[in-house]
Symmetry: C2
Subunit: 362 residues, 2 copies
C-alpha cells in the first residue's frame, strides 16, 4: 500500500475539510484507491505551523474552533507559519496549497507552489492565481523535477472540468470553451430576474455564503477572467495573460433589462469563453450574455456552475456542478492526489519494459 | 508504436463513420494517442464479409454507396457475413461490435460479444442489449480471458457518462443517477410544448432522423429502460434486470398537459433514474417527470441528452451532450479503443514491480 505524506499550506475551510475527509474516510479510501494519506505539516497565517514527520494527529485540531486554533504551544509547533521552510524542508510527498491568491501577481500562492516544485514535491492547489498567471512555467518546473502539478479545483472546485477535457476526450479536437464559472454572479442574475435589486441580491448572496465581503471580483468578472485563462491555456493550448482577456461584469445590467430578457425567454448569464480562431489563435472574453432558454447554459441557475466544451466530433459536451464550497473544493484536492497516485503507477511501465527485454533477468 | 487490428462487425452508419475516422485521421491519432489502427475484417448483413489480415484498403469501400456495397466479388470476400467465423478466427486484437440488438434477448449483438471475448479479443460495442442484459457475465468472461469489454457508446453515444462516473469521481460515493437519455422523446416533448400534436411531432422527429420508422422504443421508454439498467449496474453496482425497472413512456401525455405545465414553469421530460435506497438496494424507473425550470435537466432540450450523477461530496454533477448520431457514436468506439490501449499500458506495471525487486537484475 502506497502512503503519501502531505504538507497542508493554509488551514482554512478547504484544507480543514480535506483533513476531515482523511480522518473520516481514510480507511475506506485506502481500500478503494490503494493508498493512505498522512499529514506531516500544517501552516496557517493565524494558527502558525505544526510539523510531525511521524504524522500529525488531526482529531484534536479538528475539534478546536478554527478561530481558536494555535500551534504555538504544541510539540513541533510555532506561532510563525514558516511557509517557505515547511514547504522546502519538511519531507512531504505532496504539498497541498490552499491559501489565497492576489489576482495581480498570484502571491503568496505562487511562491508556495514554486518552492514546493523546486524541492521535488508534487503540488495540488485550489488557487487560480498560480495556474492562470504562471501555469506554463510551473508545469515546466514540475517536469524538470519529475513531479506533478495538479489544479482541478482552480476552475469549478471538485466538478471535473479540466480532467474531462484532458482525459475523456482524446482523439477529438476541442475548438472552444464557454462557461458559467462564478456562482455569486449567477445567483445574483437569477435574483434580478425575480425582481430583486442589485444591492439586495448582493446582500443575499453574502448571507448565503456565496459572496465575499468584498464582492468585486465576483461582480466585475475578475474571478471568471482567471478561470477563462486557465481553460484557454490548459484545454486549448493558448498562452493568454490577463491583459489578453477583455472583462465585463454584471454591475451595469439593470433588473429591468434582466426581466425584459426573461419575458422573451432569454436569461442573462455572466459567460466566460475562449474560442480558437481560424488563424489558430485563441480569443477569450468575459461578458454578460443573454442566452435563449434552450442554450446548454440557460438552465444553470443559482450557485450552480457549468463549462461547455465545443468539439469537432461530438458537438458540445457540458459538465455542470458546484463551483465552490469547502467540501467540494477539498474533493478537488483529493481528486488531484488520486491523479498523482495514478501517474506514479503508470510511470513505472517504462523501466519495466526495459528490464523485461533483458533475457538474463527472467 | 502499438498497432491494433480491428474486426468491424456491422458496417452501417456507425462502423462506416469509424472507418472514415481511421482513414481521415489515422496519422493524427497515431501522433496524439501512440497507436495505429488497421481493419482486418468487416462483416455486414447486406454486404457480406471481407477479410484481409494484412489490412483492408478502406478507401474504395467508403467511396461506394452503402446500399451498393457487396464484398462477394472481392479477394477475401463473401456474400455470407460469416459473423461467428470472422469473430472467432480472424486474428484481430479488437472486435468492434455495431450491429443491432433485440431488447428481449440482446441478440445478435450478445452472441457477437461473447464469441469475441471467448476467443480472447477485446470488445467495444455501441449496443445496449448485451450490456444491459448480460453485462456482468460478459465482464466476467472478459476477465477470464484477460481482455477488455468497453461500451461507453451504449448510454449517450460519445458523451462520456460512464467514464466520468468510473474514472473522474474516485473517493466519493454516487448515490443515484437521473437522466434524459432519448433524444427522440425529448425532441417530441419540446414540440408538444410548442403546441404541435403527437403524431406530427413524431413525423418531424422521423424527418430529422432522430426517430426510427417504428418509434415505439423511443416513445414508450424501452430505449431508456435499457440505459437505466446499464447505469444502475455499472455506476451503482446493482444487478437489475428489465423486469425490475417499471417503464412508462410519453404517449399518454397530452399537448395540453405539456402546455399547462410550461405555463407554470415546468417542463415535461422522460426521465430514467436509479437511486440507492437506505437498505442498499437500487430502485430504478423510467417515467415522464415535470421538472422545474431550475432543475439541472430542465435546460436539456431537443435531441440533447444528459445524465446527472448524485454524489455525497459534490452534490449533483451533470454531463450533457449528444445521445446519438453516427459520428458521435463512432467516437464512442474510438474512446473505447483508447481505453483498451491505456489499460494495456498500465497492466505492464505488475510484472515490472516484481522484476525490479530482484536485486541481481539491476
Amino acid at each position: 500500500m502506497d502512503r503519501y505524506d502531505l504538507s497542508l499550506i493554509g488551514f482554512g475551510g478547504v484544507n480543514r475539510a480535506l483533513a476531515e475527509l482523511i480522518v473520516q474516510r481514510g480507511d475506506d479510501l485506502a481500500v478503494e484507491l490503494g493508498f493512505t494519506l498522512r499529514v506531516v505539516a500544517i501552516t496557517d497565517l493565524r494558527a502558525g505551523s505544526l510539523v510531525d514527520i511521524d504524522g500529525i494527529d488531526l482529531v484534536p485540531l479538528l475539534s478546536t474552533e478554527p478561530g481558536a486554533l494555535s500551534f504555538a504551544g504544541l510539540a513541533g509547533g510555532s506561532a510563525d507559519p514558516r511557509n517557505e521552510w515547511v514547504i522546502r524542508h519538511v519531507p512531504a510527498d505532496i504539498v497541498v496549497e490552499a491559501t489565497y491568491t492576489n489576482p495581480t501577481d498570484g502571491e503568496p500562492a505562487l511562491s508556495h507552489v514554486r518552492w514546493a516544485l523546486e524541492s521535488g514535491k508534487h503540488v495540488c492547489t485550489t488557487n487560480k492565481g498560480p495556474v492562470a498567471l504562471a501555469g506554463r512555467a510551473l508545469k515546466a518546473l514540475a517536469v524538470d523535477h519529475g513531479v506533478s502539478f495538479e489544479f482541478e479545483g482552480s476552475v469549478l472546485s471538485g466538478t471535473p472540468v479540466l480532467r474531462t477535457a484532458q482525459r475523456l476526450l482524446g482523439g477529438l479536437t476541442i475548438t472552444g470553451v464557454q462557461g458559467i464559472m462564478n456562482g455569486t454572479s449567477n445567483y445574483i442574475l437569477g435574483r434580478l430576474e425575480d425582481g430583486v435589486d442589485l444591492p439586495r441580491a448582493i446582500a443575499e448572496a453574502q448571507a448565503l455564503g456565496y459572496a465575499e465581503s468584498d464582492p468585486t471580483a465576483d461582480i466585475e468578472g475578475h474571478d471568471v477572467q482567471l478561470k477563462v485563462i486557465i481553460l484557454a491555456n490548459e484545454v486549448l493550448g493558448a498562452r493568454l495573460r490577463r491583459e489578453d482577456v477583455p472583462c465585463e461584469g454584471i454591475s451595469a445590467i439593470t433588473p429591468q433589462e434582466v426581466r425584459d430578457a426573461a419575458s422573451k425567454g432569454l436569461h442573462w448569464k455572466l459567460v466566460g469563453s475562449a474560442t480558437r480562431q481560424e488563424d489558430g489563435s485563441v480569443e477569450a472574453r468575459v461578458a454578460p450574455v443573454a442566452v435563449p432558454a434552450h442554450h446548454p447554459l440557460a438552465g444553470i441557475s443559482g450557485p450552480l456552475n457549468a463549462v461547455s466544451l465545443h468539439t469537432d466530433l461530438l458537438g458540445t459536451i457540458t459538465v455542470s456542478g458546484p463551483g465552490a464550497g469547502r467540501i467540494e473544493t477539498a474533493y478537488a484536492l483529493l481528486s488531484d492526489i488520486i491523479a498523482i497516485h495514478q501517474r506514479g503507477a503508470a510511470d513505472t511501465t517504462t523501466p519495466a519494459r526495459f528490464v523485461r527485454q533483458e533475457p538474463n533477468c527472467v
